[in-house]
């Protein structure tokens, strides 16, 4: 058996490399002085072992489409009116924009104007009834997909910004399907806070408070229980004191339901929004309304930066805003025109604060003071810096594993691996004696190589992955069982030990190969289809089987050959 030397060296070198690569995973307590000797690469732990949260977020991109259609409807109708075409009604849905004009209007002209608004906006149908011409417009499907894709990308970007600034180590944020995003936050403790940070739309608006308006008083005689009218003293624009009415309640749901029920009575150009008020002394919350001018004067997309500051006297946190040049100009204009009035700062439809404009503010800086905790102020600043989501989102899936459960799983998985491994090893050694012990050696090598390869590729180990590891231990010896059984058969036909070994390895190979391929096929399909934990299972199983060709077939043969040729050993017990 010539040429055995290089084979032995190959085995020795690969064992050294394997041990070297696998070691960092077990060197938790190694002194830092010698840590530079090792690669930084390690097996990653999946969320189910490390603890952490996995979200699937669904972007409601239909709402973006609807918004786009509404916007197109607004610009189309104003253009039509410029051309002296009377617009009677504009209706927008996510698929269709319907515009009703006086019968007899020139459709070609309207179609031209529509094309100016959006080059792809096409008339899909027209109908005439009661002196009204109803024209339906549509966008081509490709454009709709485009809008949705852009919305998804913007959402991805925004969420990525928010999470980066929130400070999570190694987050994963990727697209999933055509309207979803997968977010994985390993090791995170405050899931709820992260979730609310991700979920908020982050739309910041500035609107004026309509303090002179007494509409609220007209509701006095039909307030449901739990809602009261209160007055606050404010100065009007001329500096006179007036009493401005507002609604107050201890329950957000009650208040918002009531406002919803009187929605149609709110005067044109006004709207009512709610502010949440914390009472730190009792730890409770209450809610109040503001009657606002509905027009949005300034939006959050003009903000360059937002930072948390603490007031020097009471340590109360507040958020400073820096506008970009356009925003700064608009803000200066608004404050200049409305000195003395209150300006509401609104985030996602809720009033955050409504300070009085004392003087015109140049320089593009503003402050949001509220009664928030420093965490809330921090998250608000992140939201303002990271920008808003293009569409509301829903959490379609959440999986959180607490760190203690993860640690339990690792412990149990380890025990199962060790016990399973030892059982198999003992069995093989007893049943096949020296050949069994050689196979056991291969089994241990297999385990080392799996860890080494997974470290090298920084693959993720999950709980099902550990199960895959245990399963591999059981299945890995299959190759050796096949070989040894074959050797036994050959010995029975009267062959010499060496010839029997040779024939055993040769003849068993095709069976080993074919049977392993099918397992790899299943594992590959699992990997394709599976989510995180299942992928981990597929990975350990596949790596285990591939490594097995080397350890169980090649390494054991080299060892047996070596024992039979280089040592005086006459035979190897099987």
């Amino acid at each position: 058996m010539r040429g055995i030397n290089w084979k032995i060296w190959l085995v020795i070198i690969s064992v050294i490399i394997g041990v070297y690569l696998a070691l960092p995973n077990f060197l938790g307590e190694i002194p830092p002085e010698i840590r530079f000797l090792f690669l930084k690469k390690k097996v990653r732990l999946g969320l189910d072992l490390k603890g952490g949260t996995h979200f699937v977020i669904q972007v409601q991109s239909d709402k973006v489409l609807k918004e786009v259609m509404e916007r197109l409807g607004r610009s189309l109708s104003s253009k039509l009116e410029e051309e002296k075409i009377e617009v009677r009604e504009v209706k927008a849905s996510e698929t269709l924009l319907e515009i009703s004009v006086a019968a007899g209007s020139d459709i070609d002209v309207i179609s031209d104007i529509a094309r100016q608004v959006h080059s792809l906006l096409k008339i899909s149908s027209t109908s005439v009834s009661d002196e009204t011409l109803k024209i339906s417009f549509q966008l081509p499907p490709s454009e709709k997909t485009d809008i949705k894709t852009k919305a998804l990308e913007q959402a991805l970007e925004t969420i990525r910004n928010r999470i980066d600034q929130f400070g999570v180590v190694e987050p994963t944020i990727v697209k999933y399907g055509d309207d979803m995003i997968v977010v994985q936050l390993p090791g995170i403790k405050d899931t709820e806070r992260a979730k609310s940070l991700i979920k908020r739309t982050g739309l910041l608006e500035f609107k004026l408070v309509d303090d002179g308006n007494t509409f609220i008083e007209t509701l006095a005689d039909r307030l449901p229980e739990g809602i009261t009218i209160q007055y606050e003293e404010v100065q009007d624009e001329k500096g006179r004191l007036i009493h401005s009415p507002f609604l107050r309640s201890g329950s957000f749901t009650k208040l918002s339901k009531f406002i919803e029920s009187i929605k149609d009575e709110i005067p044109e150009g006004n709207e009512i929004l709610i502010e949440e008020i914390h009472h730190p002394e009792t730890g409770t919350k209450s809610y109040r309304t503001y009657l606002l001018k509905a027009e949005t004067l300034l939006k959050g997309d003009t903000i360059d930066d937002a930072r948390v500051r603490f007031d020097t006297q009471f340590g109360q946190p507040y958020v400073t805003l820096t506008f970009n040049s356009i925003g700064a100009k608009i803000f200066e204009e608004i404050t200049g025109k409305n000195v003395g009035r209150r300006l509401a700062i609104i985030l996602d439809g809720k009033v955050k604060s409504a300070p009085r404009i004392k003087t015109k503010i140049p320089g593009g800086k503003a402050i949001i003071e509220g009664r928030f905790t420093s965490e809330e102020a921090h998250d608000l600043a992140i939201t303002l810096r990271a920008g808003s989501l293009p569409a509301p989102i829903e959490i379609a899936e959440e999986r959180t594993v607490g760190p203690s459960l993860g640690a339990d799983s690792i412990r149990k998985g380890m025990i199962a691996t060790v016990v399973g491994g030892i059982l198999v090893i003992i069995f093989m050694a007893i049943y096949y004696k020296l050949s069994g012990i050689i196979a056991d050696l291969a089994l241990i090598l297999n385990l080392i190589f799996i860890i080494a390869i997974m470290s090298l590729f920084e693959a993720t180990l999950t709980l099902p992955g550990i199960a895959g590891l245990v399963l591999t231990l059981g299945m890995a010896v299959d190759a050796n069982v096949l070989i040894i059984e074959r050797i036994r058969e050959e010995l029975r036909t009267g062959k010499t030990v060496r010839a029997a070994f040779e024939a055993g390895y040769e003849r068993a190979f095709s069976a080993i190969f074919d049977s392993n391929v099918t397992t790899i096929v299943s594992a590959a399909i699992l990997f394709q289809f599976g989510t995180g934990p299942i992928k981990g299972f597929a990975v350990t199983l596949t790596v285990g089987i591939l490594v097995n060709f080397f350890t169980a077939v090649f390494v054991t043969r080299v060892i047996s050959d070596y024992l039979l040729t280089k040592t005086g050993l006459r035979e190897i017990s099987v």
């Binding site: 459960l405 059982l423 199960a467």
Partner: protein, 303 residues
């Protein structure tokens, strides 16, 4: 040389004569499985049905009835179970996507009210919306079907079509019996169980291949030997290996079953059933069907 062996080397079982009994037993097992699948059906786990699950561990050992009482006024219909002994509970509910948030909040608030905040720990949260559930269900079905087709293609390429058919019949047999066990023991089907089923699919074909490989080899070497004898001696000679391999694999699976913990337990159990069935079906389904469907005479003519 003395060898330790469970199966005597000169074993001479006439397997072909016993095929009818094996097939009979397999048909009986499949009927039992189908019966349970028909009557009880399969229960989708959270991954596929959508819904919410909270795993809560309390500081002190609290009886499940106390947890039930504490969660009495929650507006969702709950399913509360003990998990791995006292003081740890699984709270499940079918919740539509838009209410997933509320579910967690309500349960936590109710628990806090009764036991005080900080007296329990949320160890695991799983909330799956119906869209994701549907998506996973579709992909899951697709993956099982594509696995079966991939196996058929591979075996056909490497062996003969009739063995391919036999192997697939055996594979379907194993999947049905595993599903039957899943149904009988009320195991909810989730992603982990699906992974077990796919592993069974891979393993099931494994034994069939070993036997077919031996038939292929013997036919080459001992031309003119009747097909019956070839099959019998191929099974006899591989029997020792078959039993040993399934033995070591089952050792590992049993270690998982006993020591792996709650999440892995069902997975290991399904594997246990599937692997046993997979080994049995090679002899009871795969080889016999190849033998019967393409009768002995036809085979002789071909050769």
């Amino acid at each position: 040389m003395k060898m330790l062996q469970f199966i005597p080397p000169n074993l001479d079982i006439k397997w072909t004569d016993k095929f009818p009994y094996f097939i009979g037993l397999s048909i009986l097992l499949i009927l039992i499985s189908l019966f349970s699948l028909g009557i009880k059906g399969l229960k989708y786990g959270l991954d596929f049905s959508g819904g919410a699950l909270l795993q809560v561990r309390t500081e002190k050992e609290i009886d499940i009835s106390e947890v039930r009482r504490a969660l009495n006024n929650v507006s969702f219909s709950l399913n509360i179970q003990n998990f791995e002994g006292k003081g740890e509970f699984i709270i499940k509910s079918e919740v539509p996507q838009e209410k997933l948030e509320n579910f967690k909040k309500e349960v936590m608030e109710s628990l806090e009210r009764t036991f005080g905040s900080g007296s329990f720990e949320i160890r695991r949260v799983e909330m799956v919306g119906p869209k994701v559930g549907r998506d996973l269900r579709r992909k899951g079905t697709f993956s099982v079907i594509s696995a079966v087709i991939a196996m058929l293609i591979y075996i056909t390429l490497r062996f003969e079509f009739r063995f391919g058919i036999g192997a697939i019949l055996a594979l379907v047999h194993d999947i049905f019996i595993s599903l039957g066990a899943i149904s009988i023991f009320n195991i909810p089907i989730d992603l982990v169980i699906l992974a077990a089923l796919l592993t069974i699919a891979g393993y099931s074909v494994n034994d069939t291949i070993i036997i077919c490989d031996r038939i292929r080899e013997m036919r080459r070497k001992e031309k003119g030997k009747p097909e019956k004898e070839v099959i019998n001696s191929a099974i006899n000679r591989t029997l020792s290996r078959t039993l040993l391999t399934v033995g070591t694999t089952l050792l590992a699976v049993i270690a998982l079953l006993i020591l792996g913990g709650g999440v892995i337990h069902d997975f290991a159990f399904v594997l246990l059933i599937g692997f046993i069935s997979g080994t049995y079906s090679s002899i009871s389904i795969a080889v016999p069907s190849a033998f019967y469907i393409f009768g002995e005479k036809e085979l002789k003519k071909k050769r």
